[in-house]
């Protein structure tokens, strides 16, 4: 009984602000269920606010476990080195004070978060994600108008990866990497990852030749990362494309989520609420 008090709330909400898609998940005894979903075509901010207000009021949602994504095109990923003695607070401060040094050419204020990749005796490698504070404030402002206060804003790649079985993800150790392809609703997304981090990510919104795009991105990744072996391919999207990918590229596609749904990103975001690692 007391354990559940210290655990996260049993309800988790993922909001995909691009086009507005909402998924509410509920966890009961390690079983996760989708309880409410909503999908709307909202272009203006006002429409989005109204949609969200109506949805939350209609279902009387009170949970504050709200997760939101920020598209990869708005984020900057860097791997930086710091002295091993530096604590997380020091790194945070250093990033803030020396923004120009770490992110040259960006004059606007940035919002950061980072994760320590590995630590040696002298140095520590840190993966830093940054986004423009103004952009973040715009998104949060939109949600605040709808009286929604998210606890987390993360790059959307992490949400997509949560759709892959975590056991399969954990297998991708050392030089093995996995490739996630998302092709749906005029979105092309390729994420190359291992068990620990996202190594490469690319979005495309206007495309014709999926096979060409995949080939180009894989070439781009492999030319700069020799040590990695593409081990497993995961596919989310239309089934017709899988055959052509298999035929033309001879890809070893491990798993396929042949569901063409706008809600998948919101679902991946909501899953973070039940993630044990954060």
């Amino acid at each position: 009984m007391f354990r559940s008090l210290f655990q996260k709330s049993q309800q988790s909400i993922g909001i995909d602000l691009e086009g507005i898609n909402v998924v509410v998940l509920h966890k009961k005894r390690s079983e996760i269920k989708v309880i409410y979903t909503a999908s709307g075509e909202c272009n203006s901010g006002g429409e989005k606010i109204k949609f969200l207000c109506d949805f939350f009021a209609q279902h009387k949602i009170r949970s504050k476990n709200i997760y939101v994504a920020i598209p990869v095109k708005h984020t900057i990923k860097k791997e930086l080195q710091f002295a091993a003695v530096l604590q997380e607070v020091d790194i945070k401060l250093q990033l803030k004070l020396e923004q120009q040094r770490y992110f040259p050419g960006i004059t606007e204020k940035l919002a950061y978060d980072f994760a320590i990749k590995n630590i040696t005796e002298e140095k520590q490698n840190v993966i830093v994600y940054a986004t423009k504070q103004k952009l973040l404030a715009d998104r949060l402002g939109l949600l605040c108008d709808a009286k929604i206060y998210p606890v987390c804003v993360e790059p959307d790649g992490f949400a997509w990866l949560r759709l892959i079985d975590p056991i399969q993800r954990e297998r991708l150790t050392e030089d093995k990497v996995g490739v996630l392809l998302v092709v749906q609703h005029k979105i092309f997304k390729i994420i190359i990852f291992n068990h620990h981090e996202i190594l490469y990510e690319h979005d495309e919104f206007e495309f014709d030749d999926v096979v060409g795009l995949v080939r180009r991105n894989l070439n781009h990744f492999t030319t700069s990362n020799f040590k990695y072996k593409l081990n497993a391919f995961y596919f989310i999207g239309e089934e017709d494309l899988i055959a052509s990918l298999r035929q033309e590229m001879d890809l070893n596609i491990v798993s396929v989520v042949a569901v063409e749904s706008k809600l998948l990103l919101a679902y991946g975001l909501a899953l973070r609420g039940f993630d044990d690692h954060h």
Binding site: D113, A115, L140, P150, V151, C152, E154, H277
Partner: protein, 134 residues
């Protein structure tokens, strides 16, 4: 897999608040238990115990009354047998041996020595001495 959150303080704040809430709940539980216990102890000492004492005083009163009313006037010793002569409130002298009931059924003669007798009244042992015979 690493986790990134551009609003880490919000998450931390939420967990901090939750922890505080749990601590507050536990503290209030502890406080209420302490209050209830102290009230119980207070009532027990100030109200219940005096009542119990009063209840217990009743046999003492009956013992006092008995001492005032009944007097040991003498003891008869004959070989192993012993009798006590007790002066009752109405002026009569009764002769009792150990195990006999005196007037009221609650008073019973337990032991007779050469100078005094013990009488059990409401589970209280009372000694009547022969010098009380005045």
């Amino acid at each position: 897999m690493i986790t990134i959150n551009f609003l880490p303080w919000r998450e931390q704040l939420r967990y901090k608040r939750r922890r505080w809430f749990i601590v507050l709940c536990l503290f209030s539980c502890l406080l209420s238990i302490t209050v209830i216990l102290s009230i119980y102890i207070h009532l027990h000492h100030k109200v219940i115990l005096p009542i119990k004492r009063k209840v217990k005083q009743t046999p003492d009163l009956s013992v006092q009354k008995f001492v005032r009313k009944y007097k040991l006037s003498g003891i008869i010793l004959q070989d192993q047998k012993r009798w006590a002569l007790i002066l009752t409130p109405n002026g009569k002298v009764i002769m009792v041996k150990s195990g006999d009931l005196i007037n009221e059924k609650s008073a019973q003669v337990k032991q007779i020595t050469s100078t005094e007798i013990s009488i059990l009244i409401n589970n209280k042992l009372l000694w009547l001495k022969i010098k009380d015979k005045k």
